[in-house]
């Protein structure tokens, strides 16, 4: 392998000229060919499996394409058809409701539990494991089966409902409640977000809390003035990733409800799947995918713009 100039062992601490040292260190780490060799697996994958498909999908979105015959150019017709598709707007509405309900619910649950777990008490790892368990079995089909049972006519939710005097009903088979069961399923699996919050909480220096205690700050005040600002970059990370994932939700909608009843849970990804692999309208589905990309891009960008007003970066604060 190619080795850039080997510098003599120069104790960096001995010399105060920081600039010269970092420059020298920079040269030492400079390894163009080796660098590209190391990142080659990702770079090749990106070019072949992502960049090229993205370009192609943009082209396909302007075609009529059934996989069996070559794609036929039809310009913007797909987009025009989509703008008149009642089911498209339905899936858009369902997805936005789902995102707006499930993401905050999940993050609030994750943050609350993470704060409870961020202390030295007995059995902490036991609690952590139990709370993480639902996320561990994740978006698997098994969980969808479980959910169908729990909210089914003979499921355990109805058994509870009878106890508190609510008439049992088919929660999954009723359009007004079906989406709610999917939101609950997502929120139930807050474990990953919780673990990331926990990692963030552990990085907050305890001196800050101690100093606040000395000043007589209340718990609520400590939470609002220390925990939230210090944790805000992690909250942003969880929020952005949560929203991106929620927009693409597929498996549970497909298995638990399969879009029904009366399309009340037909999420965008499911609608797209049905167009692509149900009716083999690959061009139409590609246009849908691009619309999804733009929506996610805009929402994420808005998130980052808004984050300037509430996310606090420690390094900036110190400047």
């Amino acid at each position: 392998m190619d080795l850039p100039s080997l510098q003599p062992a120069d104790p960096a601490r001995a010399r105060p000229d920081v600039k010269a040292i970092t420059k020298k260190a920079g040269q030492r780490w400079n390894a163009p060919v080796v660098g590209y060799l190391f990142i080659a697996p990702w770079l090749l994958g990106f070019l072949i499996l992502q960049l090229w498909p993205i370009i192609q999908s943009f082209y396909l979105s302007m075609t009529e394409f059934s996989l069996l015959e070559p794609a036929r150019w039809i310009g913007l017709d797909n987009y025009r058809d989509i703008s008149q598709d009642r089911l498209f707007f339905n899936s858009l509405r369902v997805t936005f409701v789902y995102v707006a309900a499930s993401v905050p619910l999940k993050l609030i649950a994750a943050l609350l539990i993470a704060m409870l777990l961020n202390r030295q008490i007995r059995g902490i790892s036991f609690y952590r494991t139990l709370v993480y368990l639902p996320s561990l079995i994740g978006g698997s089909l098994a969980v969808a089966v479980l959910w169908r049972n729990i909210f089914g006519l003979n499921g355990f939710v109805n058994q509870l409902a009878v106890l508190v005097g609510i008439d049992p009903k088919n929660w999954i088979g009723t359009p007004s409640t079906a989406l709610g069961t999917l939101v609950l399923l997502t929120a139930w699996q807050f474990g990953s977000a919780m673990i990331i919050f926990l990692a963030g909480l552990k990085q907050i220096p305890s001196e800050l809390y101690e100093a606040a205690s000395v000043d007589g700050a209340s718990r609520l005040r400590k939470f609002a003035r220390i925990t939230l600002p210090m944790l805000s970059p992690v909250i942003l990370f969880n929020l952005v990733m949560g929203i991106i994932n929620a927009f693409q939700m597929f498996t549970s909608a497909y298995i638990v409800t399969n879009g029904g009843p009366v399309n009340s849970t037909e999420m965008f990804a499911l609608f797209l799947y049905n167009k692509a692999f149900g009716s083999l309208q690959m061009g139409y589905a590609s246009a849908l995918a691009w619309i999804l990309l733009v929506i996610i891009g805009v929402v994420t960008a808005l998130n980052f713009v808004a984050s300037k007003y509430w996310v606090f970066y420690e390094t900036e604060g110190r400047k």
Partner: protein, 278 residues
Amino acid sequence: MNGKPRKSNLLVHLVMIAACLVMSYPLLWWIGASFKSAAELGNPGLFPEQWLWRNYSDGWVALPQYTFTRFFENSLLLNATTTLLHVVSASLVAFGFARLTFPLKGMWFSILLLTLMLPGQVTLIPQYTMFHAFDWINTYLPLIVPSAMGGAFFIFLLVQFIRGIPRELDESAKIDGCSWFGIYARIVMPLTVPALITVMIFSFIWGWDDYFGPLIYLNTVDKYTVPLALRMFIDTQSAVAWGQLLAMSLLSVLPPVLIFFLAQKHFVEGIATSGLKG
């Protein structure tokens, strides 16, 4: 948050126990229901009056042609391969990004982060047609080959982790004439073990749960993974044997749960020390 008086700890325990009950009640119900007869499934109560082990033995062989032995073998083989590829590639790429300097590095790293936001639906159809053209449909290749790129999330996680390892170590190895690959293999790799285990767990769990990939790429039952087999359970029977289905579903989540328990200490450590703050 240390040094709180004991009284508040009692409250925390109470709240946590309540939370754990809410979280795990569906799981307990699941275990109980997997032993229930069809008649008993509608009954309230977590556990059956009569424990029906038959749900497991019958469920295992309930599908025509193949038993669950086959589906578990398929899933294990597939996921062991993709997990291994993820770990190896992600750590190589992460080392490159975290330790080496090369032209356009900043740009590539930004692109890597951007792809975290790329919805899979955008690449889905062209990828499908590409694999179709390669004649890879109904093989495991479309599921395995993409994992050789390492996965943007895993690379990001490892880059953050490697950045936290003091450079003096590789500096001195460098001076001793160690090659870049040597530094990677002998110094950085061993130090990233907790993070590599995190990647391993995530990769295995997500791969194991993946339903969509196998759904569109695998067509014949002999290649089915466990999630597809469970789906077939619902589709092929006019009256679904819920007890058996719940029993098989429960078995299907055991591998990720086992892996998590074996590696849980490293797992949390791996996330905690990689610090997602950037």
